[in-house]
Amino acid sequence: MTPALRGFALFGLVAVLLLGTGLLQGWNSALVILNMGLISALMALGLNLQWGFAGIFNVGVMGFVALGGLAVVIVSMPPVTVAWSAGGWRILLALAVGAATIIAAILLWRRMAKGRRRGLAVFALLLVGLSLYRALFDPARDAVEAIDPALAGYLGGLGLPVLLAWPAGGLLAAGAAWLIGKTALGLRADYLAIATLGISEIVIAVLKNEDWLSRGVKNVVGLPRPVPYEVDLQADPGFAAAAADLGLDPVTASTLAVKAEYGLLFAAVLVVVLVLAQLALRSPWGRMMRAIRDNETAASAMGKDVKRRHLQIFVLGSAVCGIAGAMMTTLDGQLVPAAYQPLRYTFLIWVMVIVGGSGNNFGSVLGGMLIWFLWVEVEPLGHWLLGIVTAPLPDGNALKMHLLGSAAHMRLLTMGIVLLVVLRFSPRGLLPER
């Protein structure tokens, strides 16, 4: 089979699976899987830029996805004006002081001669800066968080259209990736892995604990939507008439229409990123990246600035993950920091990239859709399977109850087995790199 035919066949399989879901479990379920599949495909594309193009071992995808989610809150929620006057500006000032301290410390470290005096000077500077920061920050934070904590208790956002949050999420993730890349890139793969894992946990810890920013575990709910609400559609006589023409009742039609609109938006973003990634892969720049990946020493001997290129692609890939994260939070309509789990938002994306075929953009898209479908459908399948296995046991049997209750955990097991099988028998993935 030629690669192109193989690609068509596999994408056809995804389409058949989704159509089957639609026929068996209802079109709403199929669209839900499709939408999240499109977002997963985008995350996989971002990671593929880093791992497939450049061989950067990033296990901090979750952190960038969460930053994208934060961007939705910052861009689209209306500002809490009382909170801003109570301490918002002071918080910004404190953050500026904190950042200035760190920059000054780095500059001082570079400028002064080596020795004990340098260490002491930098330490003193950090101590003074940190105290100043805390003195400015703590009262302001308490003031902001004290304002109507049940409904607000945070600064709110800028009140801009929510679609702007998607590029903003990319920018926020890119900024964070630049900072991280500056310190951590250039480490060996295993060190980089643990460093990025740590950073993603820190991002989640910040979202969970900095209530003034993201309301922490109280969650931000009711984020604005880029698509109309179902109730508004149902109230629209034109829409009801159109639905009746299709033979649908208005309620079902409205839920389907909203999901389809999201799907079109996501697909548009995915296509744009995919085209750009494909152009990049084929360009001299993409060839240089792969040359660096395959042999760093040779590439740097040829005069390529390996560190700079790595930083560049790390930032780009993280930005794509940030955009995907913003899209996901928009789809959910809420930011729930406690919902970010590394197995789901980092390692599952890795499974998608590896299974799809690292280094192949279409492979990542395929892996994203296919693995997401599996992730969702393994649970009902596992339940069904265990139902058959335990059928001979009497109802209320302890083992039967336990097995049926554990069906939800089948998905981790399945993902692990899928990853191991692909790595063993088809290490280049379903759609190998060309």
């Binding site: 805390r134 950073i199 969970k208």
Partner: protein
Amino acid sequence: MDPLNALVVLANFVIVPAVAYGSQLALGALGVTLLFAVLRFANMAHGDTMAFGTMVTIFATWGLQAAGVSIAPLPTALLALPVGIAVTAALLYATDHMVYRFYRRHKVPSVILLIVSTGVMFVMNGLVRFLIGPGDQRFADGARFLITAREFETMTGLDEGLAIRSTQALTVVVAVVVVAWLFWFLNHTRTGKSMRAFSDNEDLALLSGINPERVVAVTWILVGALATIAGVLYGLDKSFMPFTYFQLLLPIFAAAIVGGLGSPVGAIAGGFVVAFSEVGVTYAFRKVADYLLPGNLEPPGLMQILATDYKFAVSFVILVIVLLFRPTGLFGGRAT
């Protein structure tokens, strides 16, 4: 000024918990570092290996408790520990046969093994959640305290109490015994020496007739034992929850890397560095300062550098600092 009470407060809230936590991390990091020294990859599944070993031990403990076996005041889990170690070692050995051996024969780069271990991590994580569920399990029984705060107060006549939980004492004793045995094994037995030789120079070791499969098998058994012991001690001290064990990967790796990957002494030192920093940075020193400052001075605020939830940040910051200034770790580990 009352330095004695200040010291007791410090011991009660920082030193004792950090020593216990540090011992647990050190045992975990020893497993990571041993595996790295021999098989040359960082095992992402180590946290879940700990969870698996602990789970088996918990099942064995429940069995023993149901049969009425008890070694009070010691926890029953201690008696069940060998079962946990045996099953975990068997699982790791089987995993090696089914998964890792293939890649070893093909001499793949270590980053591929890193990804393979991610797959193993998924499987083990799923297995643990499937068998015992994702919830919290407490399985500590026996005496709760070696010495309670009240006993300490009446004994010494100080204002502050020092409580030592029996699980904390047990952790330290077990860790010392295990580490002593491990170092004796590595330095004085034939198998241990062949392991070190294999780790230092694989080709030379093969030339002198060392059987690599045997070295690898012994390593997996040791890793299984260390992971199970570390996991059970952590679970006795705190509680068992699959997700917490997955998250332990971060401080354990930080400990192994800070000490220098591949260096057993480094792993132990790294464990304590990480534990003391984590506990010290997230502890509110107000009470200690209260006793140390002259009577009329009030300490400003809680004197807590970071909120407890940022403890991951501590492992991470230590990691970055060490890697920036001493890229091979404090005790000079090996490079891949």
